[in-house]
């Protein structure tokens, strides 16, 4: 059944157990995101010199913050897309719950590694550091990689399921990727047009499957090393694959979040919702553009073959024209002169496109090899990906969650909550600008102790962080009014 109607809700209500899974994914991600946000605030307070943490605890908190944020936002985005897919595709609650349980095992593993094992090696867990931390044992490093494994296997189960259902519905991978739309000629028969969410699910599940296999290629030898079967793993090899896994899993999150926008915008603009040729091209390019740029993380490893650096550079810069001309321009054309109805979710979407491009500009500059030589591992880097996350992924995902709860429960948002949404955008932009300024000031990232001359910019960032938390709490307060009603409307949990 196809449901292109712009008047239908941006989720499927028929299979209620799936909606309940969706809510659990999104709410779990949301709660972890909030806790990780508080940890982020603690780090900026430390940088400002206002709440000095011991280096050991700073780096443990940094590890939790990074790992928790990446996993939480991916999980929330995964939850959102299944609610939209539920309109047109028959999903299995059993598969999705299995993925959820295995993915969630990463939480106790991570907490054990960091809080009990003392692991403070960062979420990227760059080999050989996890096994040579000096202040934590090898077992804590192994537990960090087990955390990776849980996230990877959970995500793999989810991706395999989405791949399978969208492929079966379309009658093949090429049809699911809308190749008939891309290569259609006017004289030909009507091409098969998958729903945008189905196309997005197919594209992102391919990325997810490749990413997890990339992760396995590095985790397997690292576990073998821990077991004494290997003396060591080549650090250049492990760095490449860790970056492939980490970069892709973080990067794919924004594209899953964008899939939510494709589903949600028609509700407010009465436009879009179709898999046009440009939409199809955008999602096909996404597969390549998520998986090929990771070598840009190794620009400063001069031992890396030059060809890989060039691939990283070309791939990173290819993102700019394709995302701008296909995804951003396409979505802005849905908004432009549309009479879009302003509500918390539509404000969040508008802010998301604004912030996403900031991150894109910062990232495109940083991915130029000579510029990277001056910016790599300064605060410019977190500035770039926080722009993606704070004003891209989170605005799209929380905007969708707000919509889902409000629409499912029938509890209308308070008009004043839109102010909170705008405030979130302004505060987020202020926070990010300070990050970029610090990066341009050569302030290193991942430093527990900052020089006195670096404190001022961090101090300026703190009120912006507090303002984002305040505006988010305001939005949560409004959203919570509908939560129990939304939960009831997803019916009793019933496994297939």
């Amino acid at each position: 059944m196809s449901d292109h109607s712009i008047d239908s809700p941006a989720y499927g209500l028929e299979n209620k157990p799936i909606l309940r899974v969706s809510l659990v994914y999104m709410l779990t991600g949301f709660v972890i995101f909030l806790i990780m946000g508080i940890l982020g605030l603690m780090m900026r307070l430390d940088h400002a010199g206002w709440w000095v943490l011991s280096p050991d605890w700073f780096y443990r908190i940094m590890t939790l913050h990074g790992a928790g944020m990446v996993a939480a936002l991916l999980m929330a985005a995964m939850g959102g897309i299944i609610a939209i897919l539920n309109k047109t595709v028959k999903l299995s609650a059993r598969w999705l719950w299995s993925a959820y349980v295995i993915y969630s095992l990463s939480v106790p593993f991570l907490l054990y590694a960091v809080l009990i094992g003392g692991y403070a090696g960062g979420w990227t867990a760059l080999d050989p550091l996890p096994y040579h931390g000096l202040t934590w044992g090898k077992s804590a490093g192994v537990m960090m990689y087990v955390t990776f494994l849980a996230v990877g296997v959970g995500f793999l189960i989810y991706c395999v399921h989405l791949f399978d259902v969208t492929r079966r519905k379309a009658g093949g991978v090429r049809r699911a990727l809308a190749w008939e739309v891309i290569f259609s000629r006017k004289s030909n028969a009507t091409p098969y047009e998958p729903e945008v969410a189905e196309l997005a699910a197919m594209a992102t599940s391919i990325i997810g499957i490749v990413t997890v296999f990339g992760g396995i290629l590095v985790l397997a030898p690292l576990f073998a090393e821990a077991a004494g079967l290997l003396k060591s793993v080549n650090p250049l090899y492990s760095k490449n694959f860790i970056m492939l896994f980490g970069h892709s899993i973080a990067n794919v999150t924004i594209y899953i979040a964008v899939a939510l926008v494709y589903g949600l915008l028609p509700v407010y603009t009465k436009r879009g919702g179709h898999t046009t040729k440009f939409v199809a091209l955008a999602w096909n390019f996404t597969i390549i553009l998520v998986l090929t740029p990771p070598p840009h993380h190794l620009y400063q490893d001069f031992a890396q073959p030059l060809g890989l650096a060039i691939i990283g550079q070309v791939a990173s810069w290819s993102i700019a024209p394709s995302v701008l001309l296909l995804t951003i321009l396409g979505n802005l054309s849905y908004i432009y002169r549309s009479g879009m109805r302003w509500a918390v979710p539509s404000v969040m979407i508008a802010l998301g496109f604004w912030g996403w491009v900031f991150g894109g500009i910062g990232g495109t500059i940083d991915s130029a090899i000579p510029a990277n030589n001056l910016l790599h591992n300064t605060l410019w880097v977190p500035a770039h990906f926080h722009a993606y996350y704070l004003l891209g992924v989170t605005t799209f995902v929380w905007g969708y969650l707000f919509y889902l709860i409000s629409d499912l429960s029938g509890v209308k948002e308070k008009a004043s909550t839109k102010i909170a949404a705008w405030l979130y955008g302004i505060a987020g932009a202020g926070f990010l600008l300070v990050f970029f300024l610090s990066g341009a000031d050569s302030v290193p990232r991942r430093y527990a102790v900052h020089l006195p001359e670096w404190n001022l910019l961090a101090a300026i960032a703190v009120p912006f962080v507090l303002l984002t938390i305040f505006s988010l709490l305001w939005i949560i307060w409004d959203m919570m009014r509908g939560l129990s009603g939304a939960w009831r409307n997803t019916g009793a949990p019933k496994l297939e």
Binding site: P55, D56, Y59, A120, G121, L126, P128, L129, L134, N234, P235, L236, K239, R271, F278, Q300, D301, F302, A303, L306, A309, Q313, V314, W317, A320, P321, L324, L325, L326, L329, L332, S333, I335, Y336, R337, S338, G339, M340, A350, F353, W354, V357, I361, I365, I369, P370, N373, L374, L375, N377, T378, F436, G439, A440, S442, P444, R446, Y447, A448, L451
Partner: protein, 174 residues
């Protein structure tokens, strides 16, 4: 190019983008048919695609030429005249000299005994001037010419454990 130039490029592009975004947001009440907007967007795509891709290709060539890899720096800066061997460990640096001559092309051979480190050189004003990674089992060759005398600071820029921030050394250029 310095970080200041990079920041200006970033701020200018961000301001242009914010202007475009505001134009879209402010247009919302003036409703136009979706077909017309879509047709205009497609025209815009066609007009922008070629110049944008062409600009990126030209810039790519420039970017490679000015990249910090030895093969290019030997052309842009010159052949190394002085060699400095750099070893690193958790958490310190070992340089075989602390004095580096001014205006000579220097080649740093950077390696690590244990984990990944980042060999980043900060000038006397506290600005990062160049860097490479220090990786166990590999030697990264970094070519640079110092045209300003004074005390330079080496900071580790690849996270390497709980004293990462304290992994600092200095050398003098004169």
């Amino acid at each position: 190019m310095t970080q200041k130039d990079i920041l200006i490029i970033f701020l200018v592009l961000s301001a242009i983008w914010t202007g475009i975004w505001l134009k879209v947001i402010l247009s919302i009440p003036n409703i136009q048919a979706e077909e017309e907007v879509t047709a205009n967007a497609n025209t815009l795509r066609r007009r922008l695609a070629f110049p944008m891709i062409a600009t990126l290709i030209v810039l790519l060539t420039a970017v490679l030429y000015w990249s910090p890899y030895p093969i290019f720096r030997e052309r842009t800066i010159g052949k190394p005249q002085v060699t400095v061997n750099v070893d690193s460990f958790q958490w310190g640096w070992v340089l075989d000299t602390k004095e580096i001559p001014l205006n000579k092309v220097v080649e740093f051979n950077v390696s690590s005994r244990d984990v990944n480190h980042g060999f980043a050189i900060y000038n006397p004003e506290g600005r990062l001037v160049t860097q490479t990674q220090a990786m166990p089992g590999y030697v990264n060759q970094l070519i640079f010419k110092f045209d300003e005398p004074g005390e330079y600071t080496i900071r580790c820029l690849e996270y390497c454990g709980v004293s990462h921030h304290a992994m600092i050394a200095t050398f003098t250029v004169n």
